[in-house]
């Protein structure tokens, strides 16, 4: 039943001044890359990637950006939220050397993905980028999972520059079999182009405004009717190349096109 299960918050971790993780009981199987719909009673219900997968428990990790995340940010242990999921597909980790590139809150779904990759015996290279040092998170956990490269737009930590630029260099140096990414769409689009050029396997987790999360309303469609809530949020290189809107425009809650950049 694709219906919210009402649960109590088990634990809250402040990842940085702007980002928190909320832990909730979750008894179903969920794969890295899959997401849940988080119901904040009386406020909204929003999509959140799973950021940690434990036994009977998961977390999601979010930045305060508006009403719903703002309310979540103020919540305390024991508070009640609703959870629908697992929804969508997960990452498929192919090849032996995987480069993970996460930008902003896009770092969140990469943590369980890199953990799984490590568990499968793969060699991980991880690039995480943020505007500034303060906005980084998961640094300690990521370090344990592979070779970690940090980038900040302002150079306050790690390398200075855009994650996509850093990633391009790392791709050429490290020659990964696959790039797995989540973050701003323009960053993912650049990585897609890079991987197409170089013939490297690629997966990206795409964000679109979501309403029904049942694959019905069509609100979240990209390309030729691919539902991010159903066929996504993770898409392959070959699929995304054919999406003429990927990296070009997204849609607001009314379905109007909103161009990037």
């Amino acid at each position: 039943m694709n219906y919210p299960e009402i649960v109590r918050i088990k634990e809250i971790v402040e990842e940085n001044p702007y980002v928190k993780s909320i832990f909730i009981p979750f008894s179903k199987t969920i794969e890295p890359g899959q997401f849940i719909m988080v119901l904040i009673p009386g406020v909204d219900e929003i999509p959140m990637s799973v950021s940690r997968i434990k036994d009977g428990e998961i977390s999601f990790t979010f930045k305060r950006v508006g009403d719903a995340t703002g309310k979540l940010f103020e919540m305390e242990i024991g508070d009640v939220i609703g959870v629908r999921g697992p929804l969508g597909n997960g990452f498929e980790l192919r090849g032996e050397r995987i480069l993970f590139v996460g930008g902003g809150t896009g770092i969140a779904p990469l943590l369980p993905a890199a953990e799984k990759a490590k568990h499968l015996g793969k060699e991980n290279i991880i690039v995480i980028g943020a505007k500034t040092k303060d906005e980084l998170f998961f640094v300690g956990e990521m370090k344990k999972l592979g070779k970690l490269i940090i980038s900040t737009d302002d150079g306050s930590e790690g390398e200075k520059g855009l994650a996509a630029d850093i990633a391009e260099r790392v791709i050429d140096e490290e020659k990964p079999d696959m790039v797995v990414t989540c973050g701003p769409e323009l960053m993912m689009k650049r990585l897609l182009d890079i991987c197409v050029e170089r013939g490297i396997d690629f997966q990206a987790s795409v964000e679109r405004y979501m309403k029904c999360a049942l694959g019905l309303c069509g609100q979240c469609c990209i390309g030729e009717g691919l539902r991010v809530c159903k066929e996504g949020p993770v898409f392959d290189k070959d699929t995304l190349i054919k999406c003429s809107d990927f990296g070009v425009f997204t849609r607001d809650a009314s379905g109007r096109r909103v161009y990037f950049g």
Binding site: P4, L39, K211, C217, C221, E224
Partner: protein, 302 residues
């Protein structure tokens, strides 16, 4: 040879499965996908005068016998929607533009626009069960329905199909008013006004509290409406509500429907539902010696 083609007024469909309004009908890409999955026709998302964001989430949940939704008529507005229509030239099945408005003037304006955009027919959403000021209030008054249809028909020359609801008023009265107004067919039914209260939250689960109920739980009501409308009206009836399998589609056609729309089943059965229903219906027709839809349409009315 079995032929599952059907006609609704002047529209010719390769098969009687139509994508229902509000399901994947908002973007050019999703409409193309549905067409390529074998649907006989497509109804667009209901489009209004201005962009509307709709209600906050939750806007849709699965409940025991169907789907409960209260999207709140989100849509990019008729102007912006042109972009989508401009991109669907390659679709070779009829595309029906669904519209909603607050009065006959808005309906007429929107219909004209849809015709200009090149769509093949108009569906009038007179019956949205949850958006205040649209739908229910309009769709439950025979006089308003007659008037809206009449005004729209004055403006456009493509077929016009009002979509009726079983929420308020006698659906046959409304259907007759639509016919008097000049409708080329009627669509029945929109989702049923309904509610799910979550006993843990102790509140309605949808943000908007009240929503529209679709899926197999409403099929018995919808089949009854199609049966009654087919019996009482001379214009074609399109059946909607809980069509999931070829058996469901056959049931509607036996009740008099010349085509069925499919909404919630896209969730339950996936996008292959159109092709699967067509396959099953063909097999059944062969077994029963029917060569065309008309051979068994309305047989249950006798």
């Amino acid at each position: 040879m079995v032929n599952i083609g059907t006609r609704i007024s002047e529209l010719k469909l390769r098969n009687p499965t139509i994508l229902a309004s509000g399901i994947l009908g908002e973007t050019s890409g999703s409409m193309k996908r549905v067409a390529s999955c074998g649907a006989g026709a497509i109804v667009t998302k209901s489009i209004g005068m201005k962009p509307r964001e709709g209600y906050p989430n939750p806007t849709a949940v699965e409940i025991e016998c169907g789907i409960l939704n209260s999207m709140g008529l989100p849509n990019p507005g008729i102007e912006e929607f042109k972009k989508e229509i401009d991109e669907i030239d390659e679709i070779d099945i009829p595309v029906i533009g669904s519209i909603f408005g607050k009065d006959e003037k808005e309906f007429a304006f929107l219909a004209k626009k849809m015709e200009e955009y090149g769509l093949d027919a108009i569906e009038l959403n007179l019956s949205c069960p949850h958006a205040r000021g649209y739908g229910l209030e309009i769709g439950s008054s025979p006089d308003i329905v007659r008037e809206v249809v009449r005004e729209v028909k004055k403006k456009v020359s493509i077929p016009v199909f009002p979509k009726l609801s079983a929420n308020a008023g006698d659906i046959v009265d409304i259907g007759k008013a639509a016919e008097e107004g000049g409708a080329d067919g009627v669509v029945a039914i929109n989702s049923l006004r309904a509610m799910k209260i979550d006993i843990h939250l102790k509140k309605p689960i949808l943000y908007n509290r009240v929503g529209g109920y679709s899926g197999k739980g409403i099929k018995p009501v919808a089949v009854r409406c199609v049966y009654e409308l087919s019996r009482e009206l001379d214009i074609p009836v399109i059946g909607v509500g809980g069509v999931e399998t070829w058996e469901d589609a056959v049931e509607y056609i036996l009740a008099g429907a010349c085509a069925v729309q499919i909404g919630a089943a896209v969730y339950y059965r996936g996008l292959s539902v159109f092709a699967e229903i067509c396959e099953g219906m063909k097999r059944w027709m062969e077994e029963n010696g029917f060569e065309s839809i008309e051979d068994f349409r309305g047989v249950a009315l006798k």
